[in-house]
Every structure is written in structure tokens, then in C-alpha cells.
């Protein structure tokens, strides 16, 4: 081995070592500051982690765009929903008077709230765009209770990291991190465009997450679970079907 190639070899080795340890330090820092999404493994992990980390650093507190009343879509589009089950139909027959939202997991006092209980919280309304991953969109006014108010009423424990939210449809649930859960525009919406929230749009209760694509805005919400781990709650439109394995973070 000549002198030059040995020097090159040593330099390359040092550079590689510095690179690898630099990456390890970055990974540790990212983990500590909550910049790693639950689906950070696998071949798509690096891209997802870059997107999530960049947006948590850049836009943790940014507000989704709100629109003037004149821009509310005259004919909003409701995507197809799964067939409504018997439990839903029984509640619907009684005008959703018995609809309950349970809040459990890492909270000081678990609760079960009726729609009337939710409406007793301060009301927030916002005119935001519903953005589907397929490409279409519409603008509507959403009226409801900020998720953060309902969670705070139960006392969020300090180690909480995610909120899992589930539909009355047993195969439909999603989760978000605390940055989005505590975001002022994340809404437990029970009304839309000055009327009750129609069933086609998720009535009587839908979680609206306007800074993410609308597959994160689960319809017919009945349960919130605060947790410190998203294991088993990563991706969710239909976790059994690989074709539907959408990204956990949908802020893109």
C-alpha cells in the first residue's frame, strides 16, 4: 500500500466514523425532542422522519389557513363511509342523545362525555379546507370543542405523547402526537356550516385535524385514549390491507 493510498484510507475511515457518530447523535437528539414518527422504521422511514422532524421544527404552532365565509363550498363532497353498524343506528334513532365520548389512558380522571357535555365547553368555529390524500378538497365551517379543552378537563399526565381516537366503526382509528392534540384548531366537531354535523360528514362527532390530510379526521368518534406509546396504533385506515398503509403523519 503506497503512502498516498494509506493516507486516503485513514482519511476516509475517519470521515466515515465521524459521519456515523454524527448520525447517531442526530438520531438521539431527534428522539429526545420528539422528532421521530412511530413509522420511522423500514425503507420509507428516513423520508417520513425528515418530513415529520422538519415540520415539527418549522411549524409546531403554525395555524392552518382559515378562509372568509364567502369561500365556503356550496356543495361539499363527502367521501364514502363504511356501512353504519347497529350500535350507530340505535344511537341515531334516538337523535344521538345517548352518544358518549370516553376519555381514558394517561389522564388523571377518565371521563365519559355526552354531546351536551361537550357543547358546554367554550365553542370554537373555524373555516378550514378539508384536503383528501386523493387530491380533492373543499372548504367548510367547522364548529366544536377544541380537543385540548376536553383533554385538559381530564388532566393530561406529563408523560403523555399521543392521543389515539377511535370511531364507533371498530376498524377505524387514528393517532396524533401531543403537538397536534394540543393545537387550538384540532376540534371535536359537532356542527358544520351552521347546522348539526351531517352523518355523511362524520356526525354526530368528528375529530378535525386541519393541519393534516383528512384521513386523520376520523368520523363518528366515541373514544379518546391518551398514551405514551404509539405501538400498535401507527397507521390506521385499514391496517390489515397493505395497500392502505398510509403514512402515520399526514402533514406531508
Amino acid at each position: 500500500m503506497s503512502k498516498v493510498s494509506r493516507r486516503k484510507f485513514v482519511t476516509a475511515g475517519l470521515a466515515a466514523t465521524a459521519g456515523v457518530s454524527g448520525l447517531a447523535v442526530a438520531a438521539n437528539l431527534a428522539k429526545r425532542y420528539g422528532l421521530v414518527p412511530p413509522d420511522s422504521g423500514g425503507i420509507y422511514g428516513p423520508g417520513e422522519t425528515l418530513t415529520y422532524a422538519a415540520q415539527r421544527l418549522l411549524a409546531r404552532h403554525s395555524l392552518a389557513r382559515e378562509f372568509p365565509r364567502s369561500m365556503i363550498s356550496e356543495v361539499p363532497f363527502a367521501n364514502s363511509i363504511p356501512p353504519l353498524n347497529d350500535a350507530f343506528k340505535r344511537l341515531q334513532a334516538r337523535g344521538f342523545a345517548d352518544w358518549r365520548l370516553s376519555i381514558d389512558g394517561m389522564v388523571a380522571q377518565p371521563a365519559s362525555l355526552s354531546l351536551a357535555d361537550l357543547k358546554a365547553f367554550p365553542v370554537r368555529s373555524q373555516i378550514t379546507e378539508v384536503v383528501c390524500e386523493e387530491g380533492w378538497s373543499y372548504v367548510a365551517e367547522w364548529i366544536g370543542t377544541p380537543l385540548v379543552d376536553a383533554l385538559k378537563a381530564c388532566g393530561i399526565l406529563p408523560n403523555a405523547r399521543y392521543v389515539v381516537y377511535a370511531s364507533i366503526d371498530p376498524d377505524w382509528w387514528e393517532s396524533i402526537d401531543m403537538a397536534d392534540a394540543k393545537h387550538p384548531q384540532t376540534l371535536l366537531a359537532w356542527a358544520m356550516n351552521d347546522g348539526d354535523l351531517p352523518v355523511a360528514f362524520g356526525g354526530p362527532l368528528r375529530l378535525r385535524v386541519p393541519r393534516q390530510l383528512c384521513y386523520k379526521s376520523v368520523k363518528f368518534v366515541t373514544r379518546l385514549m391518551v398514551t405514551d406509546s404509539a405501538n400498535g396504533f401507527v397507521s390506521a385506515i385499514d391496517p390489515k390491507s397493505p395497500n392502505f398503509g398510509y403514512a402515520w403523519y399526514a402533514g406531508i
Binding site: 425503507i43 420509507y44 428516513p46 423520508g47 417520513e48 425528515l50 418530513t51 415540520q55 418549522l58 411549524a59 403554525s62 395555524l63 392552518a64 389557513r65 378562509f67 369561500m71 363550498s73 356543495v75 361539499p76 363532497f77 367521501n79 364514502s80 379546507e129 384536503v131 383528501c132 390524500e133 386523493e134 387530491g135 380533492w136 378538497s137 373543499y138 372548504v139 386541519p210 393541519r211 393534516q212 390530510l213 397493505p242 395497500n243 392502505f244 398503509g245 398510509y246 403514512a247 399526514a250 402533514g251 406531508i252
Partner: protein, 247 residues
């Protein structure tokens, strides 16, 4: 070899610098991944709109006459294609990161090595209609390069095309893509508002992508016409082309 311009490299030096060769192939891989997954995402809603909003209940600006992967989209076909959006979306954004990071590296390195000035910016002398006409005429006659200098440097048409792709089409495709991110738009609303709204951004993203595909087709056709083996060798190893193919 009597009149070789002083800026030309020696004959023994690579036709393309290592910077150009490495970033070229990373861009190729990323672009193909973006193109395939982009088409997959597009077929879930092959309708385009102008303005902020648009959906199956609003009139489209235009439709692509293909079947859709969603039953809710009105098309002229009776069948629904399989939904591939899960992996397509993951790969689209990962490839976008690869492309953007490679592009940033290429810009910084290209500026510091004077690659843009040396190899791409045409001299003001060359920017004449006569020069363009002459290059286009040579292309139409499929005339080979007349001397060593001509074959080792880009002509004015190539230079202007590459500059448009690097400094106009790629920045525009990244901008219109970012304008479709709801979280990014929350942080920087002007990125989407300046384009006239979310659906306008999506439509522009489509047209810029089509322009990039047209560039790709012409680029590959020119490589095939001018000697596939030598052009590939120059872009992979940087090595000089075989002498017989030069003439």
C-alpha cells in the same frame, strides 16, 4: 485540435466532473420513483381544477381520460383500479427528499466549482438567433460534432435547456409540491396563496411534471442518437469516448 478554447479541459480529463456524474444518477433514480408514484397518486383522482377547492361535485378544468383507483370519482370506465397510494405516497415524499437534498448539494458545489459558469452559462456571443438557428439546423440534419471542442462542450441550445431544467422547472416542481402540504401551508401560507390556491398548485405541479417528462424523452433520444455507449461511459466513469465514435 488547432483551435481548442482555453476553458476546455485536457483530453485526458473526464467529460463530466464527479459532482455532475453522482448527482445526475441520484436525480435519475429519484425522478423515476417520483414519476411512477406520481402517476399512481394521480389515478386516485384524475381530475384537475383551478383555484382553492375542487372535488367530484365541482366542474373540473380538465380530466385525464383514464380509469380511477377510487369508486367515488366519475369516469367513463366501469371498473376501478387497485389503490396503490399507501406505498406510492411514502416513496413519493422520500424520493422528493433525495431529489431536494441532492439538488441543494449540486447548487452549492456547482457554484463553488464554477460548474455553472464554466459548463452551462452561454457566452453572450453565443446567445444569438443565428446561433440557435445553426444548432437547430445541425440537429435536424443529425450532423455529428465537427471538432473536438464541439463534442466536449455543450452547444447553446443544450445550455439554455439545462439551465431551464435546473433553475426553472425543478424549483417550480418543488414549490408547487410543497404548496400541497397542509402543515407547510400553515407555516408559510404565501407558498400556496401566490399560486392562486391549492387546486391551482396541484394543476401546475402536473404541468411542470409533464414538462420534465418531455425534457427526459428528448434528452434520452439525443443520447441514443449521438452514441449511447459513449454518452453512458462519459456519465458513469467520466472516461473519454471511443475515438471512432467521435468522428
Amino acid at each position: 485540435m488547432a483551435h481548442v478554447a482555453p476553458s476546455l479541459r485536457n483530453q485526458g480529463s473526464p467529460r463530466h466532473s464527479r459532482l455532475v456524474r453522482v448527482t445526475h444518477w441520484i436525480t435519475v433514480i429519484s425522478f423515476i420513483a417520483l414519476l411512477v408514484t406520481g402517476v399512481e397518486i394521480l389515478i386516485s383522482h384524475p381530475r384537475f381544477y383551478w383555484g382553492e377547492v375542487g372535488n367530484s361535485r365541482t366542474p373540473p378544468l380538465f380530466k385525464i381520460p383514464i380509469p380511477s383507483s377510487r369508486a367515488t370519482v366519475p369516469t367513463d370506465y366501469r371498473y376501478v383500479l387497485p389503490d396503490q397510494n399507501g406505498w406510492s405516497r411514502y416513496l413519493h415524499f422520500e424520493a422528493a427528499w433525495a431529489l431536494v437534498l441532492t439538488g441543494v448539494f449540486y447548487l452549492i458545489a456547482g457554484l463553488s466549482t464554477r460548474h455553472f459558469r464554466k459548463d452551462l452559462f452561454p457566452s453572450s456571443k453565443a446567445m444569438t438567433w443565428r446561433a440557435f438557428r445553426s444548432v437547430i439546423a445541425k440537429h435536424l440534419r443529425l450532423a455529428p460534432p465537427q471538432n473536438e471542442a464541439e463534442s466536449r462542450s455543450y452547444n447553446v441550445l443544450q445550455r439554455v435547456t439545462y439551465l431551464l431544467v435546473i433553475f426553472f422547472l425543478f424549483p417550480l416542481v418543488i414549490w408547487t409540491g410543497l404548496a400541497m402540504s397542509p402543515a407547510f401551508n400553515a407555516a408559510m401560507p404565501w407558498v400556496v396563496n401566490s399560486l392562486g390556491g391549492r387546486q391551482s398548485a396541484r394543476t401546475l405541479h402536473f404541468f411542470v411534471s409533464v414538462s420534465l417528462v418531455l425534457f427526459l424523452l428528448v434528452h434520452v433520444a439525443m443520447v441514443l442518437l449521438s452514441g449511447f455507449a459513449s454518452r453512458m461511459r462519459e456519465m458513469i466513469t467520466g472516461g473519454p469516448a471511443l475515438p471512432e465514435e467521435r468522428t
